[in-house]
């Protein structure tokens, strides 16, 4: 895989003495959707949060190894710059409750103290909301608080907020687990659009979702990356017996 945008080399993560990610080696190609699945506590979310250095925000959490974004090791970069290049969307929609829809979209610029001319801000807001298919729904209420939107709309607003920073990679931590089925399918449809411009890594505990939305799937078990392959290949003909057991529902 020469076109890998993100590559981890012997990545290890810990909570205190608890070894959560064990020697994870993975190469993620550009402009693909990668699903990361596995049973609870397998280290999938920790790995995801390791990619943009969010893992270390938790007291006692440490990490070792390398993660290359293009050829730069994010473990050596300042976390702030890492997070500007790698956006994140969380399990529950978390728009800033005190900000309007408009301000939520450009919150990243505001937080970082980047001053933009009004026209440029308007462009970013419209562009980002269009990307997440929210523009038509909210263009007349941009000054309303983001918290007035429905759960699914809030989650798309949060994706727009991440997209507005023009990152290279977007991380999703179980992005639809707090959403109803209709909102879930809207968000899932977005992934196909978003991968044209970004590389998407989606943690999910929902196997059907992994099968539906991803080009490749990674299966984590007890802190190890057991298998990483073409999604179709993995769901029809898994190489590892643990993957097979998981997919066939022997454990979850």
């Amino acid at each position: 895989m020469e076109s890998a945008i993100l590559r981890s080399v012997n990545y290890n993560a810990y909570f205190g003495d608890n070894h959560v990610c064990k020697d994870v080696n993975i190469s993620i190609p550009k402009n693909e959707v990668v699903a990361v699945m596995g049973p609870s506590g397998c280290g999938k979310t920790t790995f995801l949060r390791g990619i943009n250095r969010m893992h270390e925000l938790i007291p006692n959490a440490t990490a070792k190894g390398q993660i290359f974004l293009n050829d730069e090791d994010v473990m050596e970069m300042h976390p702030i710059f890492v997070r500007l290049k790698i956006g994140m969307v969380f399990q529950r929609p978390n728009p800033f409750p005190n900000l309007s829809i408009y301000d939520n979209v450009i919150a990243g610029y505001k937080l970082n103290g980047i001053k933009l001319p009004k026209a440029e801000r308007d462009r970013i807001v419209e562009h980002s909301l269009t990307r997440v298919a929210l523009w038509k729904e909210v263009k007349d209420s941009l000054n309303k608080k983001g918290s007035f939107l429905s759960g699914g709309q809030q989650q798309r607003l949060c994706i727009a907020r991440a997209v507005a920073m023009e990152p290279e990679v977007l991380l999703f931590d179980e992005p639809t687990s707090a959403l109803d089925p209709i909102s879930t399918s809207t968000v899932e449809e977005l992934f196909h659009e978003l991968k044209k411009n970004y590389t998407l890594i989606i943690v999910t505990h929902n196997m059907q979702q992994a099968a539906r939305v991803s080009d490749r799937t990674a299966f984590f078990y007890m802190g190890e990356l057991v298998e990483f392959d073409d999604t179709k290949q993995m769901f029809t003909n898994p190489r590892d017996v643990r993957t097979q057991n998981y997919i066939t529902g022997r454990f979850s």
Partner: protein
């Protein structure tokens, strides 16, 4: 084994007793609650009634009168009103950076560990120290320090005065805003903070753009608590303010607050109008705190509705 019917009868008796107790308990709670209202109204009435001789003697001029001269039976509360507001707001101004600083350090930066625990307990202890002790400390340490500052700045080196009182009040009120602020900052949902971090925000940017807006009304309520404490504090202020009835010329001038005048002169009040004038001072202090509290509540609800 008991018969089902006997069992049922027992249960019925028991629950009837509970129902009776329930209504008794409800009445008891109502009485306790109402007694608070009665108490405050009672204090209010006492103050008003006892102030009547002074109200008759000085009228509305009492509030704006610039002279307080018990020997000549002239009572004007303006110097003390000014003294109270000046010391309290100056104290607030000095204390806010410290109380917010402590709140942010303990609430966000270092919520756990022995040093933060020590800091937390120490700050809480500040509120528990009797105010006479602050008065002593003020006389022994603060007043000489302020005197040195006054010499450097070219003011009369008195030491005791508005500024010394404000300093001591500032120390005394820090815990109120700090403790409330800390617990509120800890309650900010971590998913909001993470949202900001994931967008590349620094710790300070998270504090400024997520934590402060989210806790704004609560932080303000803490400041209001501090102010209430500062307005009414008596002993420590009486000891370091210099006790003069003149209008303070600047923040280093000696003066008096409403509370300190009452504490100082109550035992000397040898005729009815003098005594009544002091009680009216208490009434004014009471009203000032009520007005400031109500205005503050109005502001807080304004924040929350936004």
């Amino acid at each position: 084994m008991e018969t089902p019917s006997g069992n049922k009868g027992n249960r019925l008796k028991r629950s009837q007793r509970h129902i009776k107790f329930e209504s008794f308990f409800r009445r008891l709670l109502s009485v306790v609650g109402l007694s608070m209202i009665v108490l405050v109204i009672g204090i209010m009435i006492t103050l008003v009634v006892q102030s009547i001789p002074s109200l008759k003697a000085s009228g509305a001029g009492y509030l704006w009168g610039k002279t307080w001269d018990p020997v000549a039976d002239v009572y004007g509360a303006y110097p003390f009103l000014l003294g109270t507001l000046l010391t309290s707001f100056l104290a607030l101004l000095i204390s806010i950076p410290f109380s917010f600083g402590v709140a942010v350090v303990l609430g966000e930066y270092y919520p756990k560990g022995w040093l933060p625990d020590l800091l937390k307990n120490t700050v809480e202890l500040i509120a528990a120290v009797p105010s006479v002790i602050y008065g002593f400390w003020g006389l022994a340490v603060l007043v000489p320090m302020v005197r040195t500052i006054e010499v450097k700045l070219g003011y009369e080196p008195i030491g005791m005065g508005i500024f010394s009182s404000s300093l001591i009040l500032a120390v005394m009120v820090i815990p109120y805003a700090a403790t409330l602020g800390r617990s509120l900052i800890q309650m900010v949902p971590s998913m909001l903070k993470e949202a900001a971090y994931s967008l590349g925000a620094t710790r300070w940017e998270v504090v400024k753009s997520v934590i402060f807006p989210y806790t704004r009304s609560g932080l303000f309520a803490g400041v209001l608590l501090s102010l209430g404490r500062a307005l009414g504090e008596t002993m420590a202020v009486t000891m370091v303010i210099g006790n003069t009835s003149l209008i303070p010329k600047n923040i280093f001038s000696p003066g008096n607050t409403m509370a300190s005048v009452i504490a100082n002169e109550f035992t000397e009040a040898d005729h009815p109008v003098y005594l009544s004038a002091l009680i009216e001072l208490g009434l004014v202090l009471f009203l000032v705190t009520v007005v400031i509290n109500m205005a503050g509540k109005k502001l807080i609800s304004g924040f929350t509705n936004e």
